[in-house]
Symmetry: C2
Subunit: 281 residues, 2 copies
């Protein structure tokens, strides 16, 4: 495994890899790796000749009052996990490499970024889209892997790749959960044991949404109502949103017919958690 | 020469070209070709194994009250000129190929787009940046060629390529002029013979700016003042802007020290003309 901090030396290796006709599978991460990331890497390992993983806590996707500074970082542990996973190339640049002084170009995916997490995190998805374009241009993967946990991110990256005619296949992999159902996230580290228990309500409410759907319920309002009742809204736990939306345009639907995303964000103490499931289709 | 309307068949040929290890030189155009375009193509022909030219009147870079509909088109004549110039591949897509329904992703280069032409053409450079990213992603050129006549466009494309880590070299080629000094432009076709005469004042004012600079004048205000006096502001001729700006950040400078762009836009009748020159550096 070779680790690169600078773009130039990485690009040389990427070019050599391409010249050999090898396919590149790419997993972009913000580090602090968990089994969710590793599931993407295992998939890339099966698909591609050369697996590239990036570790970069992207400042452009954090709002001014968000957790950029305290976002968990553990590069030593990450490198160990990546080595054990058979990764070929790690790209872990400094901020100035990707955002030099006078950086001013951003990619905006439009409507898809305004609802769900975009509503409470203005600019977040512009930052995501921009860094993904940059990383794709540097690493030139044939396939890139994203987790279904960040559903809105996954959908808008697919849209962006399509709109901008980018030559990369996007694979979205299932949410990986702890044994008790909590969706894996680097931010779970923030939770106290008390908060950790409350956090289980996200997945439980999604399970009940699935149950209702299986029993024939198609009214989004009723499903949301049921889910709201399952999230303890006290002692600093607060629903940011629960929404039932079309899987492609992310617009709220009143009745579920096609493939539909049920997504929610809940602030548990100071930690904002997200989770989702797909119904129908 | 092979001409493509669809993206898929073009991409297949591009991939085959790449596999053969051939370098691709790309000249994006809006058609209605003149010697300015042909000078770019000749340069590409000297530099690259495979020369690709696109012809696409990009709706995203026209404002609602601009000349999208009446922009001159003459694809038959264009194809003849391209064939005679030894072009290998022409890409002339329909609008829906590049902007399918629900298209929503745009690239914005920020500060560079607000002054000069950006001030009177809001959204124009967002449209330019977006189509250039799309075309680069489809055609994957090693080098792409732009004319110095669209100075702001040339500078922001270089900035965008740098910011987004795009793997393409940008070459900016000199302005090509008619014998009487008028900068070549597809929009010159709009001019009546009366307007054609007035249009000469753009280049003449730039020539006098160069003269002043050679004589030691470094005060932007005095240069602009002199230029203003040379543009006949009557009978429907109107200066949009005359500005003296830093060549990199496009911000106005009071005194000329480093490499400096003198640029102007003048509306002659209904036709908006632009021209520029570089001083110092």
């Amino acid at each position: 495994m070779r680790a690169y901090k600078g773009i130039r030396s990485l690009v040389k290796e990427i070019e050599a890899t391409k010249r050999q006709g090898k396919t590149i599978g790419f997993v972009p991460t913000m580090g602090c790796l968990h089994d969710g990331h590793l599931s993407l890497i295992r998939k890339a390992r099966r698909d591609a000749d050369c697996v590239v993983v990036s570790i970069f806590v992207n400042p452009a996707q954090f709002g001014p009052n968000e957790d950029l500074k305290k976002y968990p970082r553990d590069i030593k542990r990450d490198l160990g996990l990546l080595r054990a996973s058979g990764v070929d190339i790690v790209f872990a640049p400094g901020i100035k490499s990707l955002y030099p002084d006078k950086f001013s170009t951003y990619v905006d995916v439009g409507d898809l970024t305004s609802g769900l997490c975009g509503a409470s995190r203005p600019g977040h998805f512009r930052g995501v889209a921009t860094i993904v374009v940059k990383l794709f241009n540097i690493i030139k993967p044939g396939i890139a892997y994203f987790g279904q946990k960040d559903a809105q991110q996954a959908i808008l990256i697919k849209k962006m790749v399509h709109d901008l005619n980018m030559d990369v296949k996007i694979k979205i992999m299932p949410i990986i959960r702890e044994k008790d159902g909590l969706a894996m996230s680097s931010r779970n580290k923030y939770l106290s044991s008390q908060e950790r228990k409350k956090a289980l309500s996200l997945n439980r409410s999604l399970e009940s949404a699935k149950d209702l759907y299986k029993k024939g319920e198609r009214d989004s309002y009723k499903i949301i109502k049921k889910m709201q009742g399952m999230i303890p809204q006290n002692n600093g736990t607060k629903i940011d949103y629960i929404d039932v939306v079309d899987i492609e345009d992310l617009k709220s639907v009143k009745r579920i017919s096609g493939k539909t995303l049920v997504a929610l964000a809940v602030k548990v103490g100071k930690t904002r958690l997200i989770d989702n499931t797909i119904l129908g289709g």
